[in-house]
Subunit: 285 residues, 2 copies
Amino acid sequence: MSPLDRLAKRPGSLMIIGGAEDRTDDKEVLRTFIELAGGRDAPLAIVTAASEIPDKVWGMYREALSDLGVTALSHVRIESRQAAENEALAQQLQAAGGIFLTGGDQQRLLERIGGTRAGAAIRAAYSGHGACVAGTSAGASGLCTHMITEGQADGAPEIDGARLADGLGLVSRVVVDQHFSQRHRINRLLGIVAQHPFLLGAGIDEDTALVVHGDRSIEVLGNGSVTIVDCRCVQSNIAALSAGEVPRLLNVCLHLLPSGSRFTADMQGPLADFIHFLLDSTVEP
Amino acid sequence: MSPLDRLAKRPGSLMIIGGAEDRTDDKEVLRTFIELAGGRDAPLAIVTAASEIPDKVWGMYREALSDLGVTALSHVRIESRQAAENEALAQQLQAAGGIFLTGGDQQRLLERIGGTRAGAAIRAAYSGHGACVAGTSAGASGLCTHMITEGQADGAPEIDGARLADGLGLVSRVVVDQHFSQRHRINRLLGIVAQHPFLLGAGIDEDTALVVHGDRSIEVLGNGSVTIVDCRCVQSNIAALSAGEVPRLLNVCLHLLPSGSRFTADMQGPLADFIHFLLDSTVEP
């Protein structure tokens, strides 16, 4: 049985990584990616479309992953929408055991692959072919239906201080921020979620992954934590405010999930909806 | 009727200031202090006990407040517990229309005046004599029954990452952190409140004051916001963890109160307890 046959028999997994994952030391996040992709001999695709320095980024991951013994690693370099429509490239992505979306700029990532064959292939690899799709930093932001594109992290959660754009659509009703504690992005995420309370916010620390396993469990691993921001019950004065004003927000609900946290689909309580959104998002073709 | 007679006829007010209040420009926070203290001719006492450079700090406030036209400003310099037991000094504090506790180090402040006649005089000025008691930065931290003394702000909210000590006792069930957004102290405050959920956390931004008015209303004024952290309904694994570990916290309740927010004693809803704690703390002699 080839690695691909094995993969096709199980549901895919997702790794939402907060950037700056360890690439030289223990490499827990990258080791997990290899494992979830089907092991060292599984075909792995490193997608550098978010980056302006794709060769440098590819070199970094080639070295880090090769050190971990992978045998079928390839660089998927996508620098235009035309390239993203290439059929052979789409087939390569769809056949991968693991797809890793590197950092860079999430707006560039979406400008290049949003709504293209490459984007559809990544979704299909996750939803239908049992692949592990991982995104780090900009790659993590781009995974969901909505993503944060702009916005200062350091200020107050001002109205329109950050903006939403469309992402790759692997998870709906969740919006991701990355480098979360390190870049002090709680106010940026709070501002976005307060204005868009249909979404739950997930702030991922560096060298930390929120993992959606194929067996329908959820795990936080790596060195930091995941912070969930839920504004569905918030009482605010947002409707009366203009851009740049700071809203009054009562009843923001916050969850902190440190590395080692695990949850299953049947979990009840305050995290139930978040888990449900991660596990049961309908990924359209 | 002298300014003091007027003051004695109304309940005191409290200003909890997040540090770095404007002293050169619009000076909204300091202007409010003068107003609540009874106006330009009210006796104002600047207490520099928290500081290692009391003369420099006094000079700064003398200049800023003199520019605003005050006529009866005095420097209350307390550099030892012995000085804090001085009867004349206690009377001077108790007779003040406004007492301003400057920044420095809250532990030094409490080492010098906690449990002394000076400390009791500050409480009496607030609870019985209608004075405005203001504290900024370390002075703000020292106002409540409990205060944060140590703890890195930047890391995860680790168990025992910050510590509680005793404060001056003007407000109970609230613990204050200052320079809040500017120094990224949400995790420090979250860690403290998660471990001590009997307390509500109030994180005050720089150049921002949480004001408890004598008419039993509450106001946020200045340039930033006040963030309230409420862990009373949190589900956590804290009991099973050791120092340095990061707890799992579900259901943290957060409120953001920007400058301009006003609340009255009869307000219902998620802020009701916070308002009640601020207004109805029993200040012991």
